[in-house]
Point group: C2
Chain length 473, copies 2
Amino acid sequence: MWQSPSMSYEPPMSNDEFRRAGHEMIDWIADYWETVETRPVLSQVAPGDLRAALPASPPSTGEAWSEIMSDVDELIMPGITHWQSPNFFAYFPANASPPSVLGELMSAGLGVQGMLWATSPACTELETHMMDWMVDLCGLPDRFRSSGSGGGVIQDSASSGALVAILAARERTAGQYRWDELVAYTSEHAHSSMLKGCRIAGLMEDQVRLIQSDENFAMDAAALREAMQNDIVEGRRPFFVQATAGTTSSTAFDPIEEIADICKDFVAWLHVDGAFAGSAAVAPEFRFVNDGLDRVDSYTFNPHKWLLTNFDCSLFYVADRQPMIAALSVLPEYLRNAATDAGSVVDYRDWQVPLGRRFRALKLWFVIRTHGAEGLANFVRSHVEMAKDFDAKIAAHPQYEVVAPTALSLVTFRHIGGDADNERIRDAINHGGEAYITHTKLNDQVVLRLAIGAVRTEQRHIDAVYSLLAALA
Amino acid sequence: MWQSPSMSYEPPMSNDEFRRAGHEMIDWIADYWETVETRPVLSQVAPGDLRAALPASPPSTGEAWSEIMSDVDELIMPGITHWQSPNFFAYFPANASPPSVLGELMSAGLGVQGMLWATSPACTELETHMMDWMVDLCGLPDRFRSSGSGGGVIQDSASSGALVAILAARERTAGQYRWDELVAYTSEHAHSSMLKGCRIAGLMEDQVRLIQSDENFAMDAAALREAMQNDIVEGRRPFFVQATAGTTSSTAFDPIEEIADICKDFVAWLHVDGAFAGSAAVAPEFRFVNDGLDRVDSYTFNPHKWLLTNFDCSLFYVADRQPMIAALSVLPEYLRNAATDAGSVVDYRDWQVPLGRRFRALKLWFVIRTHGAEGLANFVRSHVEMAKDFDAKIAAHPQYEVVAPTALSLVTFRHIGGDADNERIRDAINHGGEAYITHTKLNDQVVLRLAIGAVRTEQRHIDAVYSLLAALA
């Protein structure tokens, strides 16, 4: 069929041009990593700065690649907060290591959809295999292995894992209770995503209880039991408890064993959020982070935080996959295929909210194979060592105090002068650009957090931020 | 502080090694794209093949990069279904173009989190800007621009967009109705993700109505009005309608204008799913896909299907962002910051289910700038041309018939012999490896789908698949 010249598609970037621009991009990234230490960690731009510098309308014809890269350097980079800087100590880290970035690149190049086994068998099978390898690497309970009734899947985030857990728990009570009778529980220090997940799943504010915590910011199990008992008395149905292994504010560990006893008594689903701390289990001496997991229904932790694998890579395990699949499976005709019909394969679309999914197992495979178990263990060990060192120095400083136990690589501390002093110190560090730290509140006081875990952080970076803090005291 | 040699972390891949392995990976991808046409499109492996070939346990020490790449070639590649093959005509396409892959790579290398404006201002501002550019490029209504009460965000998928729309609609009725009184509506040909979204949001099966469609598989608006009226009479509250601009089975277009009239009368939220077809609007002559969008509450379409941008990149627009933010915002202390407190910025965490998010706007920016508006328009035009040609040939063939109108680049057709013949033809093509097509059911009959839209598909690939079909007739 004849096509007019104006209607034909000419790819603006040929394969050869892709090779050239791709090699440049790899070098651009390597250069970035080598120099990121010298950039102000927190972006110093004002709201609207980038938008004001961009053309209001898209171009009508294609532009040269060199112009685009030049705009990246001049317009985009000042607006970047450098999560890959060794001086990034805010929130929790977001690891992007060289092998994981190559896995993300290969995944993009292959461009496969892993919604069904049939739509790329390797995408599904490598993921199942990596989830089993991670059981080995972290010493997780056998109930999470794919060979039994459970199994694991890569989600985009611990938020989505919590939501899937809530939906599976809700499904398990379906038919026996009205959903407006259901009640969920977590600690006052749990991550906000649990509240968001409950809200998404249709629970009202009065169907979620925030249980008080003890002096170390861990959930008070006796208070949990009492709250659940009260709800039973008032005709409600406790159906879901989320415990945390390493809270966001202070890496406090809820008493999972005791909570599991309670959940057994009330037949409630127990989900554990180990988003940050879970990765520590690659080092056998830190496997206290797994305490009690052999008795929970679901568990999540994020290699995209502290295990060298770039976002998104959040691991979600269940002990029994059936309620989850029952909650999430909808099979229209256009997705039917012989392998699915035969029931001989895993279709991960039934393990998550979206239908489509990238080949995320590749980057985890690359990270595990390049490092090996010992390399991964040494990675988390190095950060815990630095944190113990920083903790000791802060404890010894007359104007600072450590606020919560330093279980792993997050140190929570404060200037004894009060909230205003702590906010002043935080802002001075962040606006100076030498480092980036964030705050939280514990016991109603502003507390500073030094979260160690970036891929390129070394002892000298900790020494430098300590010197800054000492000078600002 | 002294560290024992066994505790120190030695990155297994230095920056220089990353440069070498990265250049290799770029060439590996370019080689793949150049040869993908020669590979069997649908993977021919059996369930368990890959897992059987992988070591049962992870390595204890790191392995060489060359071994990993060798395993990719030997173990992974046979298990890949080649979505980037020019002979991929299954489902809908999943475009991965060279500039978009470079955008994904840069995003992975920067490794920033875009959950808040403050956590990388450029990540948020470029995204807002690209969502506005796409309003221009597609001729979308002004109500979706960020300058008014609405705006846009990149989601991972149209499934997640539908869920967010349902949650915003539910929020808009909050306080006025009990959630178990709410009823949602869509057509029997809507995507399964709408049912999944309703279920996630806590609606029971009897709170969702599948409205019948007309002879062209578009929603019957009169039947919708009647169903909503019946529900009102029975004391329920119609709150949400999802219409489709280009259904999955046949790219049928629901009558959005009429449906908007009905939604206005019943004060129901109107969401439009244009996942595949929406991208066609980059060519002005196809802007019928936008008909009625100036009267809807939310709209989604996926550049990761048919606009050269690799998964995930699903655009979600709302006319009024407030109910969505009210539904999804939870602000704990550890996420508070000056810019958020001042209300002067967009924090996209409140526009989606997860908290974390990648810098996905980069790849869209690269695609738009390398192509320009004309290049993008020619891309979709080329596929529509090919589909019209294929449609004409099928219509002229004595053993085949076209089943639904070919509105854009999906052709639905069948062998007149019946279901068994169509399944035989589908399987013969797919198992032969020369092309990959999938089926659906329309009017209870098995129908074959030829979805044209892969980045490298040319007229000769359509000619070849037509010859195959003719030989199998």
